[in-house]
């Protein structure tokens, strides 16, 4: 073979996804390769586009809430939260204190859920099979908490403009004996589920730090894990700002920016917690940030539980606003009073009317800043809803992060972005 043949070597273009297990859904990535080195990565998104924003324009303000669950389907309640905050801002309604605490607690439960999934699947993608088995064990407990408060394990629709749908339950759903679970297993599983939801979560927060230690034993000093993540996908702080990074992606690059601290919403200003920050801006630092965020979220859940306990007098109170132009009246009042019956009827046929205006509400979603930009023209339906999903700008930066890395690192980079296509495509 002469040198003239060597000059014939051309870049190779491969198609990654849309049905690839490491694509976290339906991401299609067109990779241009020079040997094994990525020259260009062009993500094609929109394969899960459901036009949520357009659908919201045809639904009443309340009917839109369940659509929000289906965006980032691993941190459901956080999506609802931003939407409710935006609507509340437009309406100018006050949320009862107890509802604010419940929201903060469930947000942090959601954060743990999300990071557990991320760390488990990220490790699975790049070869550490065991992690996902451990993290899903804990996710199961938290899913039960979701089920207990809302009746649904995934698509909760628990937050409503003005508060939350109902107060925390006094008992937990129980396992029952079947051909897969014998009496002994059921007894063990139900042991922590004897009390109220708060008892169950308190028990969880006591167990959880030890679980995080287990994850760290498996990964933090693991040589292979470090070889796959240290120095991969490095983003400098300046570039992170330019690229619109938020959340752990921004903090991993060393910028201390957390909306819970900087622009506190609900009762985050009463919580004691720390914000972890990375140094090198690589996949490993972002992993460390997420691990620490789980520990901090656990701390916040604990503080909320202490406050919410009914036996402390300050924890009692309503969980949704008593403005019945926004939230429905309680069932017994609706049955007894004509005025409340009219409120009920109008709310569930026509829906609430939101005064004309626009509002942007952002929360510190587990993935970054999730914002809802709502425009109202005074109707019973939104005029325009724009959902600012954190994954969108992160995925846009894939090209920059993957350039010059080996093809195997593409999965590490997708994993570190914490990609959920439901959220990116909307």
């Amino acid at each position: 073979m002469g040198t003239s043949d060597m000059a014939e070597i051309r870049n190779y273009t491969i198609n990654f996804g849309p049905q690839h297990p490491a694509a976290h859904g339906v991401l299609r990535l067109v990779l241009e390769l020079d040997g094994e080195v990525i020259v260009r990565a062009d993500p094609h998104i929109g394969l899960l586009h459901r036009a949520t924003e357009k659908l919201a324009e045809t639904k009443t303000w309340l009917q839109t809430v369940p659509y929000l669950d289906r965006l980032d389907y691993v941190s459901m309640m956080c999506n609802e939260h931003a939407y409710c905050l935006a609507v509340e801002k437009l309406l100018g309604v006050e949320v009862p204190l107890r509802a604010q605490y419940i929201r903060v607690m469930m947000d942090e439960v959601t954060r743990i859920l999300n990071h557990l999934l991320n760390i488990g699947t990220h490790a699975l993608d790049i070869g550490a099979m065991t992690m996902v088995l451990y993290t899903f064990r804990e996710r199961e407990d938290l899913m039960d908490a979701y089920e207990a408060v809302s009746g649904a394990r995934l698509h909760a629709a628990y937050y409503r403009p003005g508060g939350v749908y109902r107060d925390l339950p006094d008992r937990m759903p129980q396992y029952v004996e079947n051909k897969f679970k014998n009496a002994e297993t059921v007894r063990r599983l139900n042991e922590a589920r004897q009390g109220s939801l708060l008892d169950f979560l308190e028990d969880f927060t006591k167990r959880f730090p030890a679980y995080v230690d287990e994850y760290e034993t498996l990964l933090t000093d693991n040589r292979i894990w470090k070889q796959r993540t240290v120095g991969i996908g490095v983003v400098s702080p300046e570039r992170a700002l330019q690229l619109g990074f938020t959340g752990p992606m921004l903090r991993g690059s060393g910028i201390e920016w957390d909306l819970r601290k900087k622009q506190p919403y609900e009762v985050y200003d009463r919580m004691a917690f720390d914000v972890p920050v990375g140094v090198n801006g690589d996949c490993y630092d972002r992993y460390l940030v997420r691990i620490e965020e789980m520990r901090q979220a656990n701390r916040i859940v604990r503080q909320c539980i202490d406050w919410l306990r009914h036996d402390s007098a300050k924890g009692a109170g309503p969980v949704i606003t008593d403005n019945h132009k926004v939230a429905p009246p309680p069932r017994e009042k609706m049955k007894a009073s004509m005025e409340e019956l009219i409120h009920h009827f109008k709310l569930f046929t026509e829906g609430m009317h939101v005064p004309p205006g626009e509002a942007y509400a952002a929360i510190e979603h587990p993935k970054g800043e999730f914002g809802v930009y709502a425009i109202s023209d005074g109707g019973n339906k939104p005029y325009r809803i724009k959902l600012r999903s954190p994954g969108f700008p992160h995925l846009a930066a894939t090209d920059e992060m993957a350039k010059g890395h080996m093809i195997a690192d593409a999965t590490a980079i997708i994993g570190t972005i914490d990609l959920v296509l439901g959220d990116t495509d909307r």
Binding site: Q242, G244, N323, G371, K386, R388, P393
Partner: protein
């Protein structure tokens, strides 16, 4: 209005001056509107001026105002709305710019100032048909390959124009006109000003 917001408004007035067409503060959010010819200028100042320092473009979206308030809207139809954040100053700003010609929507691109605008402008182009002059790669992003039209415009029906199915004879996926009847369970109602207003009983 809090002292911080007043400072922000003052700094905006001092820096942008005549370029601001309108400035509003509602519920702790500052919104400014600029004309398309001052858009890039204003954006550069917003990012670089030491009194403002909006380092991050958090969001950019298109808005179609044509159906606002059931025909109450007067003025230009399409706007691009940016949400900016300053990490160093810890404040936010909404920047609105209307596309000057309803028939031929062109706005300058801000990708050169904030790289995060890249995909957001592609999205606004895809969904509303706003062309961003100077964008390096203005392709469709969310809609299907070969999609026709701009689906988020108010005159685009929610059910769309075409549907897709597998054709067993041709042994491939074919497009055909939609067969579903559009239906609206709850009609859209805009009441008079004080109706249902919180705090007015």
């Amino acid at each position: 209005m809090s002292a911080r917001l007043e400072t922000l408004c003052q700094n905006l007035q001092n820096t942008l001056g005549e370029r601001i067409r309108d400035i509003k503060t509602v519920a702790g959010e500052v919104t400014i509107e600029v004309a398309a010819e001052h858009y890039l200028d204003a954006a550069r100042l917003l990012r670089d001026h030491p009194d403002l320092r909006f380092e991050q473009l958090i969001d950019l979206t298109g808005v179609d105002y044509s159906a606002w308030g059931e025909g109450a809207w007067q003025g230009l139809r399409f706007a691009a709305v940016c949400h900016l954040t300053s990490v160093s100053k810890n404040w936010r700003l909404r920047l609105r710019v209307f596309a000057p010609d309803d028939g031929f929507l062109v706005l300058p691109s801000v990708v050169g100032l904030w790289n995060s605008a890249n995909w957001y402008e592609r999205e606004a182009f895809d969904l509303y048909g706003i062309l961003f002059e100077g964008h390096p790669d203005l392709r469709r992003i969310l809609s299907d390959y070969g999609f026709v039209g701009h689906p988020f415009r108010k005159d685009f029906p929610i059910s769309g124009y075409v549907e897709m199915r597998y054709d067993p004879e041709q042994k491939r996926v074919v497009y055909q006109p939609v067969s579903i009847e559009p239906r609206e369970n709850t009609p859209r109602i805009v009441r008079e000003d004080s109706y249902g207003d919180v705090g007015h009983g």
